[in-house]
Symmetry: C2
Subunit: 214 residues, 2 copies
Amino acid sequence: MAQARDEETGQERRVRGRRSDARRNAELIIDAAWDVLGRDPGASMGDIAQGAGVGRVTLYSHFGSRPELVEAVLAHAMTDAEASLRTVDLGGDPRAALTRLIDSSWRIVDRSRALLRAAQDELSPERIRALHEAPMRRIHTLIERGQSDGIFRADAPTAWLVATFYSVLHTAADEITADRLTEEAAPHAITGTLLAAYTPPGQPVPDVPPAGNR
Amino acid sequence: MAQARDEETGQERRVRGRRSDARRNAELIIDAAWDVLGRDPGASMGDIAQGAGVGRVTLYSHFGSRPELVEAVLAHAMTDAEASLRTVDLGGDPRAALTRLIDSSWRIVDRSRALLRAAQDELSPERIRALHEAPMRRIHTLIERGQSDGIFRADAPTAWLVATFYSVLHTAADEITADRLTEEAAPHAITGTLLAAYTPPGQPVPDVPPAGNR
DNA sequence: GGTTTCCCGAACACATGTGTTCGGGTTAAT
DNA sequence: ATTAACCCGAACACATGTGTTCGGGAAACC
């Protein structure tokens, strides 16, 4: 009794005895970790504590180890992403839906790229994939619908098209970082590439819809 | 005088006084590093020395630091890749040429993926890109030709299509590692995706040519 | 066969990070 | 106002890695 699932970490904690400043600090730490790891995937626990304006000991009282913290941060980021993607209408024409999804996804991917790298150094691939599950399911479902409608190519597994989706988004993020792609040009490049990649053989590649009515 | 560019590292070394076992050890070390780092990007200098059947001190007498070694290994791998790609005929129909290029590239990418990760932890992005220059130029040239022939889409920068090429190849490698894609299915998936992604808007997506006459 | 070059284990100095313990001080809760 | 929960600097133990020094022994070169 007197237990509940913590909304962020999913870990069980006593709620009765949890003081308000402790709860606030846990959030400060997660936010700081998101920020610091987002800039430098190799940042130390000390760096993160400092970023949160908190002692290193305090940090360890909330998150027992580095992997534990990284996992909490990634989970938090995925929850955020899910919340943002939930507002996107994935109905109607699959191609239009895909375009909308890209528009509201690519910045998120861009921002959490370094964090993902930190996670890859600390967490197992299975764990990372599990944490990605919620947002990934949205994409998977959309692509699957497009495939059964004959709009997206069905001669490749859905999982492959999903992997391609992430791949292109991450590539765009890398190209932006390297200053070979501007933020303005990114959505057009991504959308054009993916709409084409998803077009069934024999069918014409669609034009990228203009930045309006999305 | 009495100096020459070392074929592998590009570094200057006295040639006159270089004993044969020393030269052989340097090669052993590079080979071992390729192998060990290819399995674990985080492997230590000690691990690599052991893999080469050589003392750690000997390793340091050949490569002054970890970044120096990693750079030499990556350079060696790129030279190898170049040699392999040089045999590919990139003339004729750009789509057919692309297919041939993929067929002889994707395994190489698959095998040097972990090494690339090691390099990313040690070398600057600019340095890594510079080392990739030779093989990348082949792809760049081919894509550019396809674009000016109207076969590949020209509404995106050549650099973006090149980035997409690498991206899809690396994704396939990841999917193979995760057992979500078989080695047999990989070439078809990669080729199908890239041929489609490169098709100009309005034109039909080509079928993937069968595994014959390449 | 003499000389130079190279090998390489042992040991060292150093840096950096993780995770824990201690103890006094602070703050939220009732 | 009292109590229990929490903060947090300092110090510690530990692990792991890098790069260097030393010195005897082995191998290559002429």
